[in-house]
């Protein structure tokens, strides 16, 4: 019988005395796996955000710069208004290639649950940030519908959504971004007018403008923000400076949104890495002690092997195999437990972190699994050798007669 067979049988029958060591291996691989998936997801989300931002500069009402970041990153509803007449001034600024106005409106009620969703109005004539991201696979047959929904928005069975008591047909769905854009609904300005009117009846005002009469087209006078693309050869900083000088509004640069995100992710992933290293050292130390303890408890067993002709090396090898096997079993359980926490709770994690969060693909997940199991198995090598040496080093006679007087 080979050593590995003996070790496996001992493990199945629970005769290794290594339950505690198994739990520590589980803790290590759980930490390594969930930590790795978490930081992978955050980096993926950040990369996606960079591609997805589309506009270089956003012009928002003064004081609303923070709320604009909230929309982009976590889909937090916001309401603000800025005069539409600024659009012509913006397009005239040197270095501005494209300008498109957007309108933000917070809903009270969507599909089944009353939940505040951000409704974003875009101008189809000038838009360059929303429509390029429509997922081809999701375009419905009837393209006349009026809503484009973010990836995470659930539609009812008839592909409609109800806002302020009126139901709208869904036209398309956007690709997953892992950002707040997944939790928004996009409409054209015509639909937005209807929504604003309905919203007003339900007591939701748009930007609290008193000088708008019922018949006015609100979006002709006021919008929530302007998104700007800078001409090639001009730097966003340069254009931002001109806008701040000429136009009474706040400015958010996309690169600032992005750098604030990567900063946050950097802190988190450093923290995850440090925790994993700390756990690795603690677990290696504790499991070394636990393995010595379990080997000490089986001294009579080693004596029997020695009497049957087993060499010290053979015993060392058996203990080493047992130790590594125990840690691999613990590691597999830890990865399972990690998957059970990280994947179902991904929505909650992304909501709590308020950072873009995109689950890695299968290949990355498999890499994570192998990494965690490998790391845990690695952590058991030195404890295994130490425990093996302890058992193999003692003389047979001493082992057998121990405890007798």
């Amino acid at each position: 019988m080979r050593i590995i067979d003996i070790a496996i049988r001992k493990l199945i029958n629970g005769k290794t005395g290594g339950a505690a060591a198994l739990i520590f291996a589980l803790i290590l691989s759980f930490t390594a796996f969930s930590g790795r998936i978490l930081s992978d997801s955050l980096f993926l989300g950040a990369n996606n955000l960079k591609e997805r931002l589309g506009a270089d500069i956003a012009v928002v009402p003064k004081g609303e710069e923070e709320s604009y970041q909230g929309i982009i990153l976590s889909g937090e509803p916001v309401e603000c208004s800025i005069e539409r007449s600024l659009e012509s001034k913006l397009i005239a600024i040197d270095g501005v290639e494209k300008v498109t106005p957007v309108v933000y409106l917070a809903s009270l009620n969507a599909s089944c649950c009353s939940v505040p969703i951000q409704i974003i109005g875009y101008d189809p004539e000038t838009d360059f940030v929303t429509t390029p991201w429509i997922s081809e696979g999701y375009v419905k047959d009837n393209k006349d519908g009026s809503l484009i929904i973010g990836y995470n928005i659930a539609a009812d069975s008839e592909d409609t959504l109800t806002f302020f008591g009126r139901s709208y047909e869904i036209r398309a769905r956007l690709n997953k971004t892992g950002t707040g854009m997944d939790k928004s609904v996009y409409v054209t300005f015509d639909v937005m007018e209807q929504l604003i009117k309905d919203a007003r009846e339900k007591g939701v005002s748009f930007g609290e403008k008193d000088d708008i009469t019922e018949t006015d087209r609100i979006t002709d006078s006021y919008v929530s923000a302007f998104l700007i693309r800078v001409k090639e050869g001009y730097s966003p900083d340069q254009v931002t400076g001109t806008i701040l000088r000429d136009i009474p509004a706040g400015v958010v640069q996309s690169k600032n949104v992005f750098s604030s995100v990567t900063e946050g992710i950097g802190v988190i992933s450093d923290f995850i890495r440090n925790i994993t290293i700390a756990v690795l050292f603690i677990v290696s130390f504790v499991t070394a002690l636990l393995h010595i303890y379990r080997v000490e408890n089986r001294r009579k067993e080693w004596a029997v092997y020695r009497m049957m002709g087993a060499s010290g090396n053979w015993i060392l090898e058996l203990i080493f195999t047992e130790t590594v096997l125990l840690s691999i079993v613990g590691a597999v359980a830890g990865v399972g437990l990690g998957a059970l926490v990280v994947f179902p709770f991904s929505e909650l994690i992304s909501e709590q972190l308020k950072l873009p969060y995109l689950r890695p693909d299968l290949l990355e997940i498999i890499k994570g699994v192998l990494f965690s199991i490998g790391l845990t198995a690695f952590s058991s090598i030195i404890p295994g050798i130490i425990a093996g040496e302890v058992a193999a080093g003692t003389e047979c006679y001493v082992l057998m007669r121990e405890g007798e007087s």
């Binding site: 889909g75 599909s111 649950c113 009353s114």
Partner: protein
């Protein structure tokens, strides 16, 4: 001893599934209109209570074959704990709702662990009934 510990763990999971959706990881607040997650919480209460009762029987009955059957029942109840919020009843449609981000994943985790523990209890009972001495360390 091993059986008693496993039975107590299934009772704890049953309790969590029964009262968790109303207390620890609550579903969305029901207004005038009852939402889907409200019914999920109600069904989990039924399944959870059933799991608790089965767990108590597992604790007090010592005949292995009956314990094996009860463990089988626990496995099925665990499957229901997972399926109610995911397939049978479901939760609210919007991804930002509390029942989607917290209640559903919590029930998936509890249900999966319940299935694993009940499966271990089943193996332990079957092995004991066939007269073998075993001792599984891994759940």
């Amino acid at each position: 001893m091993k059986n008693k510990v496993l039975a107590i763990i299934t009772i704890i999971f049953g309790l969590l599934a029964a009262i968790g959706p109303k207390t620890i990881f609550p579903v969305c607040k029901a207004g005038e209109m009852k939402m889907r997650c409200f019914y999920t919480a109600r069904w989990e209460l039924v399944v959870g209570v059933a799991a608790v009762i089965t767990g108590i029987l597992l604790l007090i009955i010592s005949k292995e074959i009956i314990r094996a059957v009860l463990s089988g029942v626990q496995i099925i109840l665990g499957v229901f704990i997972v399926l109610i919020p995911t397939a049978i009843v479901g939760v609210c449609g919007s991804p930002m709702m509390h029942c989607v981000t917290v209640t559903r994943p919590a029930l998936i985790v509890i249900g999966t662990l319940h299935i694993l523990v009940s499966s271990t209890a089943l193996i332990v009972s079957l092995r004991e009934s066939s007269g073998k001495r075993i001792g599984l360390k891994v759940a």
